[in-house]
Amino acid sequence: MTDQAMAAALPAGAARGFWADAWRRLRRNKAAMVAASLIVLIALLAFIGPTFSPHSFDAIDWDNMAVPPGGPNDHWLGTDRLGRDLFVRTLAGVQISLQIGLLATLVSLCIGVAFGATAGYLGGKIDNLMMRFVDILYSLPYIFIVIILSTLFERGNIYVLFLAIGAVGWLTMARIVRGQTLSLKRKEFIEAALASGVGTPGILARHIVPNVVGPVIIYATLTIPQMILFESFLSFLGLGVQEPQASLGSLINEGAQEMESAVWMLLVPAGFLVTLLTCFNFLGDGLRDALDPRDR
């Protein structure tokens, strides 16, 4: 056939590398971009917002206890039962929740990717052993492990706790990465690269990693809100951050107790939490589409 006919059969459009292309696709996804901007905005607000307020997160204002938002004072989002500024406290909570989510995800990502890729790449007996180990950990009740951990560590050192949670939460990541590596190893394009003389590092860097990194990033994005939620859950049980420190979870817990008399105490932190979770999920979905060129 003629080149013209062939060219005519193809849609127009140019792209650069894989990442540039993924970025281009992500940018076209409105929901994901709005979500990402909101996350950045909330994060910025959480870290610099409190400096604009005259209050600190644990200072008690004896004159304004449990005042609703918009009152004739400088507590923009009201105060809690002890007269602590809810705006500052919520932002401090967001700070802690975000840090915890990121930290735990990062830990589970590092362990999971290393473990999964090793198992998948080596294959055979070693893979078998490594994955049985994962299965055993899977079968242990999560919350049970966490309760043991929280008794081992000094109560309130939330970072240590979440380092530990991250270290337990890598199991799914390891499974995902192993599965991907295993199926990639058998793909013909890997064999084609081998036949072209590409060495092992080249195959890992140019073929395996770009093909594995997509699911990893997506899963990580979806893990962050899981971890934030999990922290909230622990705080709800009284196993999370300790007073006067605040996380979104502990704030919601307090708010829930005052739900009938001071509903804003629940609504303010819950609003932030829901927004964050929604945003992370939208971003994760957007990344999933952006990182998979086959989806279009």
Partner: protein
């Protein structure tokens, strides 16, 4: 031919299938009409995506949930389109059977071969378990499964691909169907096994007087057992006629080009093949006018302006129909040897 006045077993009339997809609707089959008589085998030929499978899945009531069907299909006097599952199940697997391309996935892995054949017999014919088993054995022997008594108690994974396809055929035949639809029954098999299965299908057709639709992309397969051939392109029948008419003197440029581009085992030529240029049509972006136009050596403005409709036997000699503004005269374009 004797089938010419046999009663029509399956009558498909103006059948269309449209899929609703996130990117808009996709017309997979358009105005598909075909009447298959008792004892007749019609080959349905076309490339991947031509709409062969969807036409007959529509007849079976097996389309995906996002499909919309219009038109009519009748099994004898019973209409098949728009019936609910319970009603269809009175025919499916009884009077109307279908076998599929992949003999690996069409059998249930956890049931023995005997159980799977007997299940259908018990369900539809209400036979006793022993009677069903005896019939299953007879069926296996009829489809020439070697060592049939032992096979009854084997599981599908213990059988080769060819054996599994035979078992599929046995299941399809269990209730003496009037119509058998075979969707690429040999595509996944070796040529040697393909020849065995085709010979078996030819025998069954002859002995049982079934009506058969044989879907394939291989004109050679059609040549062996079909009485008539329908050639599909981009969701439409573009040529229909007896197997001699269509393969010996194709009238549609696509049929002719396809025949010419296929290397033949009995052709000692070594030069370049007269290939069809271009790519198979994208059903979402069909060209205006004739869908084969961009790849057709005879295309002109009329072809680009208006889609040719399938002109039936009344206007063209013989029993054939063709959808082309400039049908070939059948001699000029006979396969030139290179």
């Amino acid at each position: 031919m004797s089938q010419a006045d046999a009663p029509v077993a399956l009558d498909i009339d103006q059948l269309s299938v449209v899929f609703d997809t996130p990117d808009g609707s996709l017309a997979a089959v358009n105005d598909f009409s075909l009447a298959i008589r008792r004892g007749e085998c019609v080959g349905v030929v076309g490339e991947s995506g031509a709409g062969k499978s969807q036409s007959f899945l529509a007849v079976m009531g097996l389309l995906a949930a996002n499909a919309r069907v219009s038109g009519q299909a009748r099994l004898g006097t019973e209409s098949l389109i728009g019936r609910d599952v319970a009603e269809l199940n009175r025919f499916r697997g009884v009077k109307l059977s279908m076998i599929f391309q992949d003999p690996m996935t069409s059998l249930t892995p956890h049931m023995t071969v005997g159980e799977q054949i007997a299940e259908s017999i018990i369900h539809h014919l209400g036979s006793s378990a022993e009677a069903a088993r005896a019939r299953a054995l007879a069926l296996l022997e009829q489809v020439q499964v070697t060592d049939a008594p032992r096979r009854l108690d084997q599981y599908p994974h213990e059988l080769s691909g060819g054996m599994r396809q035979r078992v599929m055929i046995a299941i399809a035949l269990a209730c003496d169907p009037e119509v058998l639809i075979a969707d690429e029954p040999t595509t996944a098999l070796d040529v040697t096994i393909q020849a065995q299965i085709l010979a078996l299908l030819a025998t069954l057709k002859r002995e049982r007087g079934m009506a058969m639709a044989l879907i394939t992309h291989d004109l050679g397969v059609v040549a062996g057992i079909a009485d008539r051939v329908a050639v599909m392109y981009a969701g439409r029948v573009v040529e229909l006629g007896t197997v001699h008419e269509v393969l010996k003197a194709p009238k549609h440029p696509y049929t002719a080009a396809l025949l010419a581009s296929m290397p033949r085992i009995d052709d000692a030529g070594t030069g370049p093949l007269p290939a069809i240029g271009g790519q198979p049509p994208n059903p979402r972006r069909l060209p205006s006018g004739c869908a084969f136009g961009p790849r057709c050596a005879y295309a002109d403005d009329a072809c680009r302006a208006e889609r040719p409709s399938l002109i039936g036997p009344s206007s063209i000699e013989g029993t054939r129909s063709v959808a082309c503004h400039h049908p070939l005269d059948g001699t000029r374009h006979a396969r030139e040897s290179t």
